[in-house]
Symmetry: C2
Subunit: 282 residues, 2 copies
């Protein structure tokens, strides 16, 4: 690995580049982004060595390792265009939050060049200037090999993630989307909706945003996440997200019913069970 | 103010006592709790000078300032029994998260001895051993005077809160419950339900609690809050909570519909609007 290309020079792309550098990677790091401002910042901050806003120029860097870090729905188009210009030996992997059919689509385009991945790390921040070189330390990284995945490339990707502190785990692409539909995409949808609820329920008399105590700020921190990134994730993982929302509304309606009917015992039991379960993951 | 009685020697009661001490209060601090263990801990940690598990003994301490800090639904019963034994000059106030009709109920019992209050401060922790002497610094404290409230007592309560760093604001008791139903009780209900969703949607193949990345932990931190305290808040503020849950489900279903129908533009607009609004409160 001597010439890394970061596609999407934002928070995730920049963090991967910074993490490589921090952990001793000596090769080149190139960047591609549609936004010239991102390239300029990435270069100025020394996060990438050189960048471009023109995809075929990125091909001319002749990368041997490509990390897709743009919003997930841009992947197929970028893969098509990169697939035509990249070397046969290249490894293309990604940091996308959605896998499932996208993995098979990218495999159809890139063949065995592609290995699907998703680091379970991030913040609500966007922009290369917030890059964190220690973002992946102690964090799970899910790789989603299929029966077609090249074992050697999979092994390289695994080692690269381990070198920046990640804890690699393999998972079926569709199981991945079910799991992260519930544990990550649902909480984001809930956080966005909760902020919207305060907009809707504010009145002429009272601006509810003046009283953001009691956990609301922590709770909705993730509602500051990049809208385009999350629009893409929601649409790309639509079926699982809808299913998760339905499951969540079922839970919330159960709690609602216990309160409405003043079922003290069942309510205490429900809250106790939830608290116990939540304590287990600390 | 020379003899303060804390009713409910837990996290909130202990924090109020510690904050008084930190800010130079030289009088006595007594504690009442039904749990002997809490009294013992409070005494051992020097948070209270002396405590009891017997309410009429607490009366014998002859307090001139009583801070109710137990779960809100215990207030009326405790007020009835205290009302019979306390001095005429006493001030009784509270840290309860619900006001509304409870304020009028306590006023019926205690007359002008009572001033309703609610500091917008707290953590998910419970137990006197976690008491924080700086809990109220820079935090809003809502006082809910009515037409019957004694102006002098209100003024004393205001000064006491300001002495421990609180920023006092007055609000109608019913408006208070509408506001905090949306900004605090709803987020707690949502956090509890979100954890429950992971319980329900875990399968034989996958334990969803193994993948708590991506904001889920921060998001559900408040689901570790004391179940009895929250059961009481939910039931005491039932109407507002139900209304908030309904408003929230409406918001969430709107987002759900945008995703289901793949309305890219409206979805981007929705997420952008929410993000902008959320950024404003930082």
């Amino acid at each position: 690995m001597e010439r890394v290309l970061i596609v999407g020079v934002g928070f995730m792309g920049g963090s991967f580049a910074s993490a490589l550098r921090k952990h001793g990677y000596k090769g080149k790091i190139y960047g591609y982004d549609i936004n010239p401002e991102s390239i300029r910042k990435g270069e100025d901050l020394g996060i990438i060595d050189r960048g471009t806003t023109i995809l075929y120029e990125a091909g001319e860097f002749n990368p041997d390792f490509v990390m897709l870090s743009s919003p997930v729905r841009t992947f197929p188009e970028i893969a098509k265009r990169l697939g035509e210009i990249l070397d046969e030996e290249v490894i293309v992997t990604d940091q996308g939050s959605v896998k499932g059919s996208l993995v098979y689509e990218l495999e159809d385009i890139l063949g065995s060049k592609y290995v699907g991945g998703h680091p379970i790390a991030g913040t609500e921040k966007s922009g290369v200037e917030f890059s964190m070189s220690d973002l992946y330390e102690g964090k799970k990284v899910i790789l989603t090999p299929t029966e077609k995945t090249d074992k050697e490339r999979l092994e390289v990707v695994r080692r690269v993630w381990e070198s920046v502190g990640g804890i690699v785990e393999y998972m079926d692409p569709f199981l991945h989307d079910y799991v992260f539909g519930v544990v990550s995409h649902l909480p984001h949808a809930v956080a966005f909706s909760l902020v919207d609820t305060l907009i809707r329920m504010s009145t002429k008399e009272v601006d509810l945003f003046k009283y953001p105590g009691g956990g609301f700020k922590d709770f909705t921190r993730i509602a500051k996440s990049d809208p385009v990134m999350w629009r893409d994730i929601f649409l790309a993982n639509k079926e699982n997200l809808l299913r998760s929302i339905d499951g969540f509304i079922e839970s919330l309606n159960y709690l609602r019913k216990l309160v409405e009917e003043e079922k003290e015992e069942e309510l205490t039991e429900f809250l106790n069970e939830v608290k116990t379960k939540r304590m287990e993951i600390d």
